[in-house]
């Protein structure tokens, strides 16, 4: 797991300020981090091997029983599929839209600061309020979305967006896309400013079209940005909880359950803390496995 090359490098230079003083600076944060993040995460791993209900004093160790029960739980299968759909859609759509917006805003547009401000605004709102806003827009009777459809004569398309299996997950993802486009846009905008204008001029002189310039200058120039944007978006997508919980509560039925919410319901509603933590462990392990290359790259760059 840990990087093994670190101690070897330490031999290169002894400094007076290492040692105890350095640890004095590091310890407060490390203790808090270990006590409230590392320890609880590992402790959850332990609970996932038990049949604890979350309330009583005692519990039995049941080994891998919770894990072997997962595949036969239809809600877990649904939640895992929803997590996958969620990860693909709420990564790809915001990244593509963010890139398009960034390229446009990087060109000749007036009022760039205001436009940038607007597109990033949803990202700073509490997720619960985003859920409230969209829940309200989706309201079958008084919601703005159905009202807009009726206003343009598409009455047939007006429907209970969050109230039926076929549209509920899609409806929550629209809200997620709305709030997540701003972040890739900002990062791409910053990265675009690092691409030399000379390259475009030279290409224009050589007769390259806008489209060719995009594929042969812009996209390669954005390579480091793509990596960071996609990595952070993927990491974020695995954490989905607030939006689903506040918008649909996993429903209708279990149509919008994801691993995070299904874990919560098992622990706090069905008193199956052992089983619930097993669900959380599975999705967390996947999240970490997918993110390790990014974490490693951040560590390397700064070492």
């Amino acid at each position: 797991m840990a990087v093994l090359t670190a101690p070897r490098k330490a031999t290169r230079k002894k400094t007076r300020h290492g040692g105890l003083v350095a640890w004095g600076f590091a310890l407060p944060a490390l203790l808090v981090y270990a006590g409230f993040l590392v320890y609880p995460a590992l402790s959850s791993l332990w609970f996932s091997f038990t049949d604890w209900d979350g309330l009583s004093a005692g519990y039995n160790v049941v080994g891998l029983d919770n894990y072997t029960a997962l595949p036969s739980d239809p809600v877990v299968r649904q939640a895992a599929l929803n997590n996958l759909i969620w990860a693909v859609v709420t990564v790809v759509a915001p990244v593509v839209l963010g890139l398009v917006l960034a390229v446009i805003l990087n060109g000749k547009v007036r009022g760039k600061p205001v436009l940038r401000l607007i597109f990033y605004t949803p990202a700073v709102l509490p997720l619960v309020s985003v859920a409230s806003i969209w829940g309200w827009l989706y309201n079958p009777e008084y919601g703005a979305i159905n009202a807009a459809l009726r206003a343009v004569g598409l009455d047939g398309l007006a429907q209970p967006w969050l109230g039926q299996d076929s549209t509920a997950l899609g409806a929550t993802m629209v809200a997620a896309i709305w709030l997540r486009v701003g972040f890739p846009m900002l990062l791409y905008l910053a990265a675009l400013q690092g691409i030399s204008a000379d390259l475009y001029e030279a290409a224009t002189v050589d007769g390259a079209t806008r489209w060719q310039q995009f594929w042969h200058i812009t996209m390669p120039g954005l390579k480091p940005a793509h990596y960071v944007v996609i990595a952070l978006s993927v990491i974020d997508s695995f954490k989905v909880f607030d939006l689903i919980y506040a918008m649909t509560y996993g429903g209708p039925g279990t149509a919008t359950q994801v691993m995070g919410t299904w874990m919560y319901f098992n622990v706090f509603q069905y008193n199956q803390a052992g089983y619930g933590t097993a669900i959380a462990v599975v999705i967390t392990v996947v999240a970490i496995a997918v993110s390790i290359p990014y974490v490693r790259s951040q560590t390397k760059e700064h070492a």
Partner: protein, 292 residues
């Protein structure tokens, strides 16, 4: 931002007419429309919040109000218990954010400038925290809080909030600290300044922009945090804004104008802060995410 001259000149020599200026105008129009669509949920929210419920029901959500009222805000404020939830969120912010930024800065200093042993292992472990979903920790955190008698208390939230804030703060701060020239720190050391003195009188003041950014982003995250608050706080007297808003949403599900006013009450401080401080937010996200 007037690099317009060069391309224009280039184009003039080719047979294409000066299309760029016009292109700028049509792009601006299109982008303005897209931006309006993008922000329309918030605009609708404001319009709905300032009209009477009867007017909303009679004319629909997309109509312009026939009369204006601020009564919705008064109703929502009282029924939504916002005086309490605002106070609680503010207390949490004041207790947590400065402390979190300070201990993160200390760790970042140790990593960036003090050549701590196992530095890379520490960084790796801490950055891994960026990927950990909160829900993996809620059962043990709940058990810990209960055994410490800290459920239903804002104090019980501070530990978990600090722990989940540390990875990002350390990531941004240590990459900023690394760019501080070693010569300055070395000179202070030769003058007899200890590590603490250097940290407090040189490193922190020189890093003010990064500290401000991290402070703001951490404040936004703290203000918005939902899951820990949901599981640890249960009495109305201790709820924070996100949890209070969720309750409120349930109670007002049939009162669209009141609901809109309540949502606005919950998000207005963050919108105002964002509008004024966006320069710092944008800078920090970019710095934290790209390489330092």
């Amino acid at each position: 931002m007037t690099t317009v001259l060069m391309p224009e000149a280039t184009i003039a020599t080719t047979h294409t007419p000066p299309k760029k200026a016009k292109g700028g105008l049509s792009t601006t129009v299109v982008m303005t429309l897209v931006a309006l669509l993008w922000i329309s949920p918030l605009v609708l929210l404001i319009i709905t919040a300032v009209r009477p419920l009867s007017d909303f029901v009679a004319n629909g959500p997309l109509s312009w109000p026939s009369t204006f009222t601020f009564q919705n805000f008064a109703d929502a404020w009282n029924i939504g218990n916002f005086a309490t939830t605002y106070r609680n969120s503010l207390i949490l912010l004041i207790l947590k954010v400065p402390l979190g930024v300070f201990v993160s800065a200390m760790l970042a200093y140790a990593l960036a400038k003090l050549r701590i042993r196992f530095g890379r292992t520490i960084m790796y472990t801490v950055f891994l925290g960026l990927t950990i979903p909160i829900y993996i920790t809620i059962v043990p955190v709940f058990v810990m809080a209960r055994s410490a008698g800290l459920t239903d208390s804002l104090i019980g939230l501070i530990g978990p909030y600090l722990a989940f804030g540390i990875p990002f703060e350390v990531l941004v701060l240590q990459s900023f600290f690394r760019q501080l020239p070693d010569e300055i720190l070395e000179a202070a050391r030769i003058d007899g300044a200890g590590a603490w003195r250097i940290f407090l009188t040189i490193v922190l003041p020189l890093s003010a922009p990064a500290l401000v950014t991290v402070f703001i982003l951490d404040a936004v995250a703290t203000w918005n945090e939902f899951l820990f608050a949901l599981i640890l706080l249960n009495s109305d007297a201790h709820k924070t804004i996100p949890v209070g808003l969720l309750n409120f949403q349930g109670q007002f599900s049939n009162n669209n104008t009141g609901l809109a006013a309540g949502i606005l009450i919950a998000v207005v401080p963050i919108l105002i802060a964002y509008t004024f401080l966006q320069r710092w937010i944008v800078g920090g996200l970019t710095a934290g995410a790209s390489k330092g």
